[in-house]
């Protein structure tokens, strides 16, 4: 019998399921009927010949590849049983090391669709494990704050890390730069996610402030206070921050401030925090904050280009919310006239 308890994770999360509804949309004076629909099929899908690989990840925290006895090619993951280059010679399972190098610079996803939003930002890279001929598709992360396009490149040495809770999926493992690990972490196999510390990464160094920086900082503080008042008066902006609570320490070359998001409100205070912040936002040039509030630059884009650093990767989601505020406030102000 199907599980009916509400707190069990669902194949399709319940909130994805829209209500049965239809509506009439008018285009050039003609009415057109549209209805809410879905295309869904449920499966009990076998992993078949790949089962040993996924069970190896889940139960043994080991990575298995497959080797052709004729040409010697080692394929990881073991995506084929027989070697197509040797008239379909039967291949043999081989255990692989948990280290290797990046096949090429990986793309990084910052804006994911609904199924992958909880992962962002994530890198979808390919690692050539030592002794392998093909590259293993794998998530890549950094332990040192937010993931940017400039951390991994072709040939970067990496270590495969196993999640503590594993389900027999490609996401049971991810790779981090070997250079970020202590020697004992580098040597440990399997290295577990809980063996890593993501909480207090080293902060990038802020340079000396220029006069322009100081002026920009003063302007940014002023504008943030206006933004804070604007959020209070903007239903859209309050909605952007609804149900969200974060204390953010903002650091720039010309000074710091604290942003407090509290379920629909944004408070600004100059100086340093008194209670522990959830994460640090660091931008050498305070001008970035001005650019953000004057629609010249998105904070999310500033992370991608390296102009803005945050200490906790998953807090990109908070930055995404902040990004929406100036426009929301502006739109509601326009609506009010």
């Amino acid at each position: 019998m199907a599980e009916t308890k509400r707190d069990v994770p669902r194949v399709i999360p319940e909130h994805f399921n829209p209500p049965v509804a239809s509506e009439v949309v008018e285009v050039d004076g003609h009415p057109y009927l549209q209805t809410n629909e879905g295309m869904f099929t449920f499966y009990k899908r076998t992993k078949g010949e790949f089962s040993a690989y996924f069970l190896g990840l889940r139960d043994e925290a080991k990575i298995y590849g497959i080797k052709c006895p004729q040409c010697g090619t080692v394929r990881v993951p073991p995506f084929a049983l027989m070697c197509p280059d040797c008239d379909f010679a039967q291949m043999e399972s081989v255990e692989m090391p948990d280290r290797g190098v990046m096949n090429s610079t990986p793309p990084i996803t910052y804006f994911a669709h609904s199924l992958f939003q909880s992962w962002v930002p994530f890198g979808r890279g390919r690692v050539v494990l030592d002794g392998a001929d093909t590259a293993l598709p794998i998530h890549v992360y950094t332990t040192q704050g937010v993931l940017t396009p400039f951390i991994f490149e072709k040939g970067t040495p990496v270590k495969v890390v196993f999640r503590d809770e594993r389900q027999g999926k490609p996401t049971d493992i991810f790779a981090v730069p070997m250079a970020e690990l202590a020697p004992e972490q580098q040597a440990k196999s399997p290295l577990l996610e809980s063996d890593l510390d993501f909480s207090e990464p080293p902060e990038p160094v802020l340079g000396e402030a220029t006069d322009e920086d100081r002026a920009a900082f003063a302007r940014a503080v002023e504008m943030l206070k206006e933004l804070s008042a604007g959020v209070d008066a903007s239903p859209r902006a309050r909605h952007n921050l609804a149900g969200w609570r974060r204390l953010i320490e903002v650091k720039t070359a010309a000074g710091g401030l604290v942003l407090k998001i509290d379920d629909g409100s944004l408070e600004v205070a100059e100086g340093r925090r008194t209670e522990p912040a959830d994460f640090v936002m660091l931008c050498a040039e305070p001008q970035l904050l001005v650019d953000w509030m004057t629609f010249k630059e998105a904070l999310t884009n500033a992370i991608i280009t390296g102009r803005l650093w945050i200490s906790i990767n998953r807090e990109f989601t908070t930055i995404f919310k902040l990004d929406r505020l100036p426009r929301s406030v502006h739109r509601d102000m326009q609506a009010r006239g």
Partner: protein, 401 residues
């Protein structure tokens, strides 16, 4: 093999969303336009090949079956082709072979696609759901669950190319190409972004969607349909005479699908820093057409520009500029206005439109139009698709009076 020519082509306007038409209606529009262009009747068409990429977009398995009767093909053969982004090009390849083999004399290639019926009820926008739908195209055992998307997949190829050629694909070059394509779309009444103005400066400063792709340097999602009518030599000459238009002959055709798994050697796996599918497909087509130096012998290219940096690499793979020096497209004024080569005069998929199953018909429609209107001798149509630019198709066209 028998000689095969193109004698008609028609497309619908490209729109981000067609509220007024289903894919049935769009298909009828494109077929009607194509047959009017050829001044012939559907009664004289022997067979049809459908290009429809993704069942989920159409909310239908066997999405072509309800089209067959309504485009007037009852009791005639019809076959659907689906090959990712290269669906349309492969459908035209199939139409070509139907005739070259001697099996049929006149064959219609009809490409059609929906996209933005897909809707994300969380953000109350279409785009995330369109991306999610395409996401089912990735390897479902090892890659889909990692959050594979079409754009990150092409970004992967471009980033790997940049690993090998750090001096190429300069931001200002891609931005300038965006500006040129935008200007060229003004000459295409069916282009989705015909009224948009994108300057190189705007493209340069547009935000990243996935590094190194910027918002104004990538293709759009469209809905629409395109049809191309192919005919055997005698038939083609008769139809063309009647329509008062020259036949555009298909003199070269090549296709290649790479491995989907990355490895060091393109002969056995995917070498990530190249698009060998485009290289092999185009060179096979050149060999068949007797083209020795594409830059000297081809005047118009309609290539599948999913992303502008990929356009550059594809132009390198197809031999118009050296691999590693594709910035020459702009720096040596090869594709700038008045340059040696007309590249994507339709505005391409970036500014013209990209209804996946029929995008390559859209490109073919444009290349043929340019050959006829500008009295050019030779053109090239290209399609790319699947994960990591795995699929490539190239078709050489030649006009004769």
């Amino acid at each position: 093999m028998r000689r095969v020519g193109i004698v008609g082509a028609g497309i619908t306007p490209c729109k981000s969303h067609w509220m007024e038409r289903t894919y049935y209606g769009l298909s009828q529009m494109a077929v009607k336009a194509c047959l009017e262009d050829a001044a012939t009747s559907v009664k004289d068409v022997d067979a049809v090949v459908y290009g429809i990429y993704n069942d989920i977009f159409e909310l239908a398995a066997i999405p072509e079956h309800p089209l067959h009767g309504i485009i007037g093909m009852t009791n005639k053969p019809g076959m659907r082709v689906t090959n990712g982004g290269a669906t349309g090009a492969y459908a035209m390849l199939a139409a070509y072979t139907f005739i070259a083999s001697g099996l049929y004399d006149t064959v219609l290639a009809l490409g059609v696609e929906r996209a933005t019926d897909c809707f994300d009820f969380e953000s109350m926008t279409e785009t995330p759901e369109v991306i999610k739908t395409i996401g089912w195209s990735a390897d479902t055992f090892f890659e889909r669950e990692l959050g594979w998307t079409a754009s990150d997949s092409y970004a992967e190829v471009v980033l790997a190319y940049m690993d090998d050629h750090p001096g190429d694909l300069k931001p200002e070059v891609s931005a300038r190409i965006a500006e040129i394509l935008c200007q060229q779309a003004k000459n295409n009444a069916f282009a989705q972004r015909r009224d948009e103005v994108v300057t190189a400066e705007m493209a340069m400063s547009s935000r990243y969607v996935v590094y190194p792709f910027k918002l104004l340097e990538m293709c759009v999602y469209s809905e629409g349909a395109g049809a191309v009518l192919f005919a055997s030599e005698d038939k083609a000459k008769a139809i063309a005479r009647n329509a008062g238009l020259p036949v555009v002959w298909v003199t070269g055709l090549g296709a290649s699908n790479e491995h989907h798994v990355a490895g060091p050697d393109y002969k056995t796996h995917k070498y990530m820093g190249r698009i060998w599918s485009d290289h092999i497909a185009s060179h096979k087509a050149y060999e068949m057409a007797g083209v020795k130096d594409p830059l000297e012998e081809i005047q118009v290219v309609e290539l599948h520009d999913a992303f502008i940096k990929q356009l550059q690499i594809t132009m390198g793979e197809m031999g118009f500029v050296p691999i590693g020096k594709t910035d020459a497209l702009i720096e040596e004024e090869i594709m700038t206005p008045g340059g040696k080569l007309l590249v994507n005069p339709s505005g391409g998929l970036t500014f013209g439109g990209h209804f996946v199953g029929g995008s390559n018909m859209f490109s073919c429609w444009s290349a043929r139009r340019e050959l006829i209107q500008r009295q050019l001798e030779r053109g090239l149509v290209h399609g790319t698709g699947s994960t990591v630019a795995q699929y490539g198709v190239a078709m050489v066209l030649e006009r004769s009076e």
